[in-house]
């Protein structure tokens, strides 16, 4: 199906989300839509998938002008959207989820549906059991289910919103293979992302958005530098490791063993020195999170000692760790780090403990506006925190950190953020290091681990490597270790070393 957008405009209040977008997407192609958070990609996709109506402008599908009133209307016209968080029903069986919403007789023919599901799944080599429950699937598998469903519902256009966030590398490869196959079959695919490498790898053409406008387009072979310039209207400086000479030990673990639900970690020892960044790498659920919580006093080791500076803090509470200058930033920003429903100013009041029983609103307001300026957060003190974009929420978390910290523990500090926000976050973290703090962080992004860590601990199903200097590691080697390869060499090297 060919899709043409003509001069689409949409404003929210004073924000011009789409300022006259015109774009022609030919059938059987993979159109990339690239742009940083808030560039207007999502708004355009919401218009195309029927969530919102444009203020003006036309959508022309295969030569005829259409108005898409609702998402259900969109799928009837063959436009299916795969949301970043798949819009499925976790407690239902896969087959029920598959059928739900499809029109037909009062009693759906489940056997026929199951057969068609299996045929579709086999076509793309997806391993899904129609009798399993949706909530037992990984995000990647839920995406597969949604893709199958949208195809079954008759989609001729598939819109994917940031589909590679939260799925593993093999699943990503499978997704890309599927999308290529679909494009070959004549499907029009729109791939929305802020990840340059994904877009470069997959798309047959790319449109770049900035501040609600279409600022350029490109076709392969892509030139990363020019794409970056289009996205941000300037070149970005990548800050690598700064060699702050490490100071005294801030955190030291001696022979720490931990037990989690289905995971045991044995005998971990390492030291984080002032000014040092330590990256924890591994597949999700390999033990990094447990170890990080143990560094924050949120998980208790079954054996071994944890020391902060000179003090033995084994077995003490998170509160005690906090008092000694430890900060912990969990991955789930809205669930664990920020309080949905409170304004930015309220957050500063909570974290600073502005004294007295009654709140000094004026002071809190000043404090909030001051921090918002320093940390370059797009929002006002009175805004509720959930109205911020992901990048701004993460900046908010950093802005909430106390002035004097000795140890900062971070879980996926830049997950889902665009390049500019990522660079900004790390520049702020670097400042902390320069002030003498140590940082321990978890990331699924190997490039991030290698780029910003001084030393790396690799996790593989409960096994933990000794701290490896990041300089001696490559993405290939690190990737191998994460996948369980090359550990024997590591072990023998450690023996030789010790």
């Amino acid at each position: 199906m060919q899709i043409e957008l003509r001069d689409i405009r949409k404003t929210f209040g004073s924000v011009r989300a789409n300022a006259g977008i015109s774009l022609l997407i030919p059938p059987a192609s993979i159109q990339g839509i690239l742009g940083e958070n808030g560039a207007g990609k999502s708004t355009l996709m919401k218009i195309l998938s029927g969530f919102i109506l444009p203020d003006s402008g036309d959508i022309i599908m295969d030569g005829s002008r259409v108005v898409i009133h609702s998402p259900a209307d969109a799928i009837r016209r063959g436009v299916g959207m795969l949301h970043q968080d798949p819009l499925d029903f976790p407690p239902l069986k896969i087959l029920d989820d598959f059928i739900l919403g499809r029109r037909g007789a009062v009693f759906p023919d489940r056997r026929k549906a199951a057969r068609e599901f299996r045929q579709l799944a086999a076509q793309f080599d997806f391993d899904l059991d129609s009798e399993a429950y949706v909530d037992t699937l990984t995000v990647g598998e839920r995406q597969q289910l949604e893709i199958l469903r949208l195809l079954w519902f008759g989609a001729g256009v598939l819109i994917l919103d940031e589909p590679t966030t939260g799925i593993s590398q093999p699943q990503k490869e499978k997704l890309f293979a599927t999308l290529r196959k679909l494009a070959d079959q004549g499907m029009t695919i729109i791939f929305v992302s802020h990840k340059l490498e994904d877009v470069e790898l997959l798309c047959s053409r790319v449109a770049v958005f900035r501040q609600g406008e279409l600022v350029g387009s490109a076709e392969p072979p892509y030139e990363t530098k020019s794409l970056v310039r289009m996205m941000f209207s300037r070149d970005l400086a990548f800050t690598g490791r700064t060699s702050v000479p490490p100071g005294g030990p801030i955190l030291s673990l001696r022979g720490v063993s931990l037990e989690a639900l289905r995971l045991q970690i044995r005998d971990v020892s390492f030291e984080a020195r002032a000014g040092e960044v330590i990256g924890l790498a591994g597949m999700e659920g390999s033990g990094q999170s447990v170890l990080l919580s143990a560094c924050a006093g949120l998980a208790q080791p079954v054996s071994g000692r944890v020391r902060l500076g000179e003090n033995d803090v084994t077995g003490l509470s998170y509160h005690a760790f906090m008092k000694r200058g430890v900060a912990y930033l969990p991955a789930a920003r809205l669930e664990q780090g920020l309080v949905a429903g409170l304004s930015l100013a309220d957050h500063f009041i909570l974290s600073e403990g502005v004294g007295g029983i009654f709140i000094d609103r004026g002071r809190a307001q000043d404090l909030a506006s001051d921090r918002i300026r320093t940390y370059n957060i797009k929002g006002a003190p009175s805004h509720q925190v959930e109205s911020l974009s992901g990048g701004n929420q993460q900046r908010m978390l950093l802005a909430l950190l106390k002035e004097s910290l000795s140890l900062i523990l971070l879980e996926h500090p830049t997950r889902g953020l665009d390049i500019e926000s990522t660079l900004y976050i790390w520049s702020k973290l670097r400042e902390r290091c320069a002030q003498g703090a140590a940082i321990v962080f978890i990331s699924a992004d190997l490039d991030e681990v290698l780029q910003y860590s001084d030393r790396v601990l690799v996790f593989f199903s409960g096994r933990v490597s000794p701290p490896l200097p990041a300089e001696g590691l490559s993405v290939e080697k690190l990737g191998g270790l994460i996948g369980g390869k090359g550990w024997d060499v590591l072990a023998s090297a450690a023996v030789a070393h010790g």
């Binding site: 969530f51 609702s70 998402p71 819009l87 499925d88 407690p91 239902l92 059928i99 009693f107 429950y133």
Partner: protein
């Protein structure tokens, strides 16, 4: 002879569970759509009184039942308007409605209090009633008890086997996703809240025209049943068959309390009267044991094939409330 007495007693258990079943199924449908209707306790009283009064005035039992359903639907409509259109808290509005309905039933019911009115007669099913044991148990009941059997099965088939039932589950679990798949979430919520309210409303006339025929105001003995209905809905995991199990269990325990009292003179009668409530909670907790985390943890020690089978069985037992229960829906 004693067998026959026991059978008649058990048949009575089925009869007295009928109004609870109507209440539970009505509430289950409403909550599956994402709307908690806490007005149940007052609603049953008001529908009982209203149904009785209408049946008395018109000399028509059928109109009495219709009046009960209408009042139940109307109360639910009020709740739907407040929570879906005005986006107010379902809990707060439900509480106020339950108190309002209860007091209204006492106040408006004064003129008919203590009068004897029509009541539903037994409708034996020819041929089937002569089957030994089963005939006495199941086929010498009144029409509402037969309907209660059908209601449970029909509700289960609707919720779990039909296309509209699937969408009903969808709007209660994740309205945003249901909307994307073509549901008019708020209109469906109105529909199911009112329908559920009407079904639950029938519980009232079943009491006042059959199980506890008549209207006796504050001593009708109906105050409190609505709360039991709400509890059984939750323990029943929003599944009609499990809810029916809960309803029958409760009626059985109440009956046992009555029967055992003469046999156990040493036990204070209050103990036997109250016993059904904690026993009920214990049993239902046991049914829901698959929800507990420690169970999952101890399971991991079992050998893999056994563990898998037990886990599957527990998963089938596991009940999670509709994820969007009590929350209003907006398109963004």
């Amino acid at each position: 002879m004693t067998l026959e007495i026991a059978l008649v007693g058990l048949a009575g258990v089925l009869t007295s569970a009928a109004p609870i079943l109507f209440g539970v199924i009505g509430e289950t449908i409403s909550e599956r759509a994402g709307v908690t209707n806490l007005s149940m306790n007052g609603k049953i009283l008001l529908c009982a009184m209203g149904g009785f009064a209408v049946a008395l005035a018109t000399r028509s039992i059928l109109l009495g039942f219709l009046a009960g359903a209408a009042i139940g639907g109307l109360v639910a409509l009020l709740l739907a308007f407040a929570s879906i259109t005005l986006r107010q808290s379902q809990v707060a509005v439900g509480f106020v409605l339950t108190l309002l309905c209860r007091d209204l039933s006492y106040f408006l019911g004064n003129p008919v209090m203590g009068t004897t009115g029509p009541s539903l007669s037994m409708l034996s099913i020819p041929f089937f009633q002569d089957i030994p044991v089963l005939g006495l148990l199941f086929f010498r009941q009144d029409v509402m008890t037969y309907l209660s059997f059908i209601l449970v099965a029909a509700a289960w088939v609707f919720i779990f086997r039909t296309r509209p039932g699937l969408m009903l589950r969808g709007i209660g679990e994740r309205p945003a996703a249901a909307y994307v798949r073509g549901a008019n979430v708020n209109r469906l919520r109105y529909l199911y809240t009112v329908a559920g309210g009407a079904i639950a409303g029938l519980a009232g006339p079943i009491y006042s025209l059959s199980v506890k025929a008549g209207w006796k105001g504050t001593i009708s003995g109906l105050d409190g049943i609505g709360w039991i209905v709400l509890a059984i809905t939750i323990f029943g995991g929003w599944n009609p068959f499990r809810a029916a199990f809960g309803a029958y269990l409760f009626s059985l325990l109440q009956w046992l309390g009555l029967v055992l009292q003469p046999a156990l003179p040493g036990v204070p009668s209050q103990v036997l009267q109250v016993a059904p409530f904690p026993l009920m909670i214990l049993t239902l907790l046991f049914v829901n044991i698959g929800n507990a985390e420690w169970v999952e943890r101890s399971l991991s020690r079992l050998p893999e094939p056994v563990r898998r089978r037990v886990a599957r069985a527990l998963r089938a037992l596991k009940a999670t409330p509709p994820a969007a229960l009590g929350t209003p829906f907006t398109k963004e």
